[in-house]
């Protein structure tokens, strides 16, 4: 494993241990609902299902279809906020 992925794993571990990962997930969830991202993607999912054969759509198909759009639609402000939170958390627990 490269040094970078080792560091990533360590950060992830710390986030999970301190419960911060859950809190960040909740924060992200709230922000994405507030800005309408959830509704936008839900509508997109419905369109995808309508286009394809609705009896045989699997979760995998949906994930493949909506992931690029979902990633693109996240507002910059949300990305900034979460980055800030993670930075603050790392600064606080700088024993890594």
């Amino acid at each position: 494993m490269s040094k970078e992925s080792q560091l990533r794993a360590l950060v992830n571990q710390k986030l999970i241990e301190m419960g911060e990962r859950e809190r960040l997930k909740e924060l992200l969830r709230a922000r994405l609902i507030e800005c309408g991202w959830k509704d936008q993607l839900k509508a997109h999912c419905k369109d995808v299902i309508r286009e394809k054969d609705s009896e045989h759509v699997t979760v995998e198909d949906l994930v493949a279809e909506i992931t690029p759009k979902g990633r693109a639609l996240v507002p910059d402000s949300v990305k900034k906020e979460l980055l800030q939170r993670i930075r603050a958390f790392l600064a606080q627990h700088a024993t890594l």
């Binding site: 494993m1 992925s5 990533r8 794993a9 992830n12 571990q13 710390k14 999970i16 241990e17 301190m18 419960g19 911060e20 859950e22 809190r23 960040l24 909740e26 924060l27 709230a30 759509v57 699997t58 979760v59 995998e60």
Partner: protein
Amino acid sequence: MSPAACSHVNGFKVDNWKQNLRVIYRCFVWSGSAETRKRKAKSCVCHVCGAHLSRLHSCLYCVFFGCFAKKHIHEHAKSKRHNLAIDLLYGGIYCFVCQDYIYDKDMEQIAKEEQRKAWKLQGTCSHLFAPAGIGERYSTWEPTKRELELLQHNPKRRRITTNCTIGLRGLINLGNTCFMNCIVQALTHTPLLRDFFLSDRHKCEMKPNSCLVCEMSQLFQEFYSGHRSPHIPFRLLHLVWTHARHLAGYEQQDAHEFLIAALDVLHRHCKGDDNGKKANNPNHCNCIIDQIFTGGLQSDVTCQVCHGVSTTIDPFWDISLDLPGSSTPFWPLSPGSDGSVVNGESQMSGATTLTDCLRRFTRPEHLGSSAKIKCSGCHSYQESTKQLTMKKLPIVACFHLKRFEHSAKLRRKITTYVSFPLELDMTPFMASSKESRMNGQYQQSMDTLNNDNKYSLFAVVNHQGTLESGHYTTFIRQHKDQWFKCDDAIITKASIKDVLDSEGYLLFYHKQFLEYE
């Protein structure tokens, strides 16, 4: 994906599978406690490549974690013939034979329970609490089997449009009973009370036909039935006479007295609804009346010598405000009102506002030398000042303008116009505001950001006439901006101007923002 779960789960559902599944959820998916979190952090990595972020799945048949994106879990499933895996991020169950996520009722049930437990655990770890607190999360309603049956057997649906008049109904006057009718109109249009009764939440423990809460429930059914003919509240009147003797008879009574008596009887008859939490304390029950109407009034008595403060908090259902022109000393408030605008009312000299009355209510009052109290600090009788503030605001705040004067000298009605706002911010009258003012923190801008103390007007009870003979009517608010005047059996549309120009006797305000407790 078939609507029923696939048959491949049956191979898994043997022996102690429920407990095993719970352990997996608790330890690796929704880790609530610090211990499980540590374990999750350490062990949740792909056994093949060590990655932790590529949609990790856990095999349900053995201890194996594998990436989904890089298909490591797929290889494991194929080689070991373990065809079920669980997504460690969202808890979904994947079947490799069906090649899709499946939804098994029993497993879903377990997943939901474990998720709720984990949330609860996280909510209590207050030292780890960040601003994005978790607490009890909202989950969408799913009908039970019984509810689905009921919905199918009762296919008639009522559509609420902005123009529909459902909830509005006149009340026949049974002989000077307008004092009762006006309060009933206000209560049936109190949103939280309406929700409580329409969802049938009252469990009666009294003899049939003797419970006022049951009668209120019936009343709500009548009001929201869609009938447009006026309702005849004879049963309500009879119950009121039975339980509040002082209001019996055909004379005109005071609407405010009726309100307090009605709330009292409803509160007493709600015994069955108190879920036993505070059953031992008669002053502090959990019934719907207390939840909606009860606030806490803080009384601070400050000794003028040692400045020690003795504080008591009393529950209240309404705030009775003295008016200018009454025989109690009222004005002046502060030298030279500066004509500023507070709470949307302009304070021109002359026009009294509700805010003026509230300010007068909460100002420190010097208890003269004839009313010395025993100070526990000085151990002697000293002069003191007393101040009232709001410790806890109720969800519905009822203001009673004391228009009827019954002093030894005279009996009369004070008809001074008092202007009241559509939106009211109670922050300046809170005990917490007073404390921060005393500590020198003038937090005015912060307080106006606090949404907790903002109220909206939803009902106004007016009295026309004199002390001897008069008539009560009510303005109530329907939907957001529609107002209606309820004059016994006659309901007419009213404008906001009509409402705000009226004299005002009882003013009902509802909290704008409600929080879960």
